[in-house]
Symmetry: C2
Subunit: 171 residues, 2 copies
């Protein structure tokens, strides 16, 4: 983007004015990568910021609150898509909390199911390991340890989000 291309964008060039930040600074202060910031903007999670005459993004300090909100919601297990819906509601003046409540209660149920699964799984794994320690090696032709386990396979499982499900490089 060149200065001459800017026709309808709100143009601001008062970086020195009232705590206006460029993208690198926002990234440093928020801990969200530059590319991620642009990605968030593209996916409608962040408002389009104003620009300098030369096309650089310029953010007001409130962006940091918004990003903190996003990270908080992520930490609570919301997907970016869900967060976008919430933010959209808020932009339209509707309280998003109805939506939030639904998502949260749904996630609670999923979470309980997931934890039940994990407990079963952990038990199975530990028992199998212990059994194998006692018996020596079981007579299976690849690995008795696995072959003798009784975990059911072949069920349809649902993916359930939550903290720790994602991998984050920055933070």
């Amino acid at each position: 983007m060149r200065a001459s291309d800017l026709k309808n964008a709100r143009i601001v060039d008062e970086e020195q004015g009232r705590g206006m930040l460029r993208i690198g600074e926002v990234s440093k202060r928020s801990g969200v990568g530059i590319e991620a910031l642009r990605f968030y903007e593209k996916s409608g999670l962040l408002d389009k910021p104003s620009r300098t005459f030369s096309g650089y993004r310029v953010y007001g300090p409130e962006i940091l609150d918004r990003l903190a909100f996003i990270k908080q919601a992520q930490a609570l297990g919301f997907s970016l898509d869900e967060i976008r819906r919430i933010v959209d509601d808020a932009r339209r003046g509707e309280s998003p909390c109805h939506e939030v409540r639904e998502i949260v209660s749904r996630r609670l149920e999923e979470l309980d199911e997931r934890m039940r699964e994990l407990r079963r799984y952990r038990k199975e794994l530990a028992e199998t390991l212990e059994e194998w320690n006692k018996v020596g090696r079981a007579p299976g032709h690849i690995c008795g340890l696995i072959e003798s386990s009784h975990v059911e396979h072949g069920e349809k499982k649902k993916k359930i989000g939550g903290p720790g499900t994602r991998e984050r490089k920055r933070g």
Copy 2:
């Protein structure tokens, strides 16, 4: 692949002989999709099967055991890559159980950590929801429900596999 291309592949055409199966039949009996079977083969998880003169894959009945093994291992939380390493060991005549044991104990530790996280998370989520039910709506400018939560954000988290982490279409 055409019949004329077959030079070094073991060629067998006795489908009627001793329970030889073509890929569709294997898929039906094992519950593993055809495309997945070819994918497994390409990634070295399955031996290259013999072929008919016209190039069709022909499997012996032991493929079903192998696939059951793979599904079992998946259900125990092993990645295809880990399973491949195990199967490779077995092919080289080494007992893979050492490797398996290592993977399993590592996964147990990860699992415990993951469950601790989930418990914290669940507690936080439930408390936040309940609090919000009592208070009505908190005075946050997007959603007090999220803003008032105390889940820490911005930590690096590790992805930990396990049953339910994957999504499977066929069973």
